[in-house]
Symmetry: C2
Subunit: 342 residues, 2 copies
Amino acid sequence: MSTIAEVARLANVAKATASRALSGKGYVSEETRARVVSAARTIGYVVSPNAASLVTGRTKNVGVIIPYISRWFFAEVLESVEQALLEQGYDMTLYNLPQASPERDRVFEYFLARKRFDGVISVGVELSEAEVEHLHQLRRPLVGIGGPIRGVPTIAIDDVATARLATEHLLSLGHKEIVHIGGSQDEQMDFAVHSKRLIGFLAGMRAAEVPTSNCFYACELTVPGGYYLGRSVLGDPRRRPTAIFAASDEIAIGLIVAARELGILVPSELSVIGIDGHPHAEMFRLTTLEQHPRNQGRLAVNSLLANLEAPSPEDESASTILETNLVIRSSTSAPPAGLSQG
Amino acid sequence: MSTIAEVARLANVAKATASRALSGKGYVSEETRARVVSAARTIGYVVSPNAASLVTGRTKNVGVIIPYISRWFFAEVLESVEQALLEQGYDMTLYNLPQASPERDRVFEYFLARKRFDGVISVGVELSEAEVEHLHQLRRPLVGIGGPIRGVPTIAIDDVATARLATEHLLSLGHKEIVHIGGSQDEQMDFAVHSKRLIGFLAGMRAAEVPTSNCFYACELTVPGGYYLGRSVLGDPRRRPTAIFAASDEIAIGLIVAARELGILVPSELSVIGIDGHPHAEMFRLTTLEQHPRNQGRLAVNSLLANLEAPSPEDESASTILETNLVIRSSTSAPPAGLSQG
DNA sequence: CTGAAAGCGCTAACAC
DNA sequence: GTGTTAGCGCTTTCAG
């Protein structure tokens, strides 16, 4: 409602001075500044970022694109990103991107093209060449979370190494009958995460010279996905593994529910390890590798804002690979047969 | 990058004509319009909503305030709101409001005051008088989801009636030993939802003349919350109920996990009914009352945008109470003892 | 240190 | 139907 002109009038200064006093840019005497600030407070003045951005080019608004809101990992990233942005005075505009679709195209061609953002954070979205091109045309800093984007700094974990680590953990306990349950290799999405985790798993198994036939099953990356697959995989005692490496904690939780229904004790008869650090891990006796979504969110925001302050030239493709910490949230077990390894 | 002036030059018209052609407001000959549109496409022109909003007062941006992102109900509302807004060409700026805190104050006093929004949707947040006042001062339409806000239209379910319905469902199956597990009455938040559900529960019980001493327990509204409480409540066979009405599906799921660990069969030995319509209900044999979060989100957006088009005078406080449908997602059972009810 | 003036990109009156 | 003009609220030269 109130404009800077009113503040200026009330403080008996020019608009320019009021602007300087309020924004902190440029010289203003302490006395004048105090008068302006008090005038602003009196009439409840707040700058209009719209008007300001028209002249400065800065909007104090960051766009975030994300494929899911309700999956735990994404929700955590979102919360941390929003919080970090707010602390710096930035608004967060959210786009929940569907898979390839007309609506998705519209986000890139229309919404993101409106020059509304100082920068864009892309969370766990595999972008097409055309989409990356659209984003680069904005000439605004861009940060990815979850996987590489051409010419864009990225925060990510090393999926292959993480999967291998999880596998090695189970192997070190003496397990030989290990199964990996992850996303479908056909419906490859995100950053081929499904493949990478499978690759890491297989690498770990092969290094330990454990046979790997029939030891991979695919399902949806959700609790019910893991549950229904678990009922079928664990239902057959002949091919029942002693340990499972699940590609996400959601799958792992579903598997554990299925196992319990079948009377299989977790973890004594079946060890399960997942990836994420889900808050339900403890109650399900789930071992999990922490992915620290909140850290990833904060790192992304910091990186983006740093780039905004001091635009770096062309080393933009530098990516940050996070270290994964093996956190034993609960007791994984040695296999029932008690085979010792090495 | 490109401005409407360039489009105008390329199409050999004045800026105003280009504006009319592109926005569809005002008379433009079909021929001219085509020329302008093609010119715009050639140079990849997209209007700057910032500049436009400076003169029109409209921003094509809606602010959403919400207390949680990762809880299923809220995530669903958020997804549906975002989708509905996008369809209408609106951006969604998200504020994840913490409980009363300096950060929260800042959202109301600073972020929401920046005149950046055409309207605001408040999801499941109990607002203080001061906060409502701040919102009203924006002179922008405002819609609430989840509970009443003074002078604001609201989308909500009838919590008392819903709780009573759930209770009556259990009573009708013949249960007498029914317990209600909900949010703490001390940490009252949201819209006294905890109280309302307790009230509805007690009303149902009393109408059926079933005693209600020691039949309410409080916990956090999460899966672990329900789980840990369940371990203690169900661990004592002497006071074990035959049915539980949980204030949320998350609590209910946690309870079921605890029950299963204790060897209690669900639903044959213990019936559990929750509220929400959570996607995990089926795999946990959970009966649930649907709350239809996506519908609530869409209704809120429709109501808000309708108000934007044609601002209604002062009947703003009209609220929409959604009907709750009793959806039996899986089999609730009669109590083990098989007492039949008149 | 402060003021006057120009202009960011756009739309809304008002002429023609 | 279309062009001209003014101005939304702000920051930023450029004088003083």
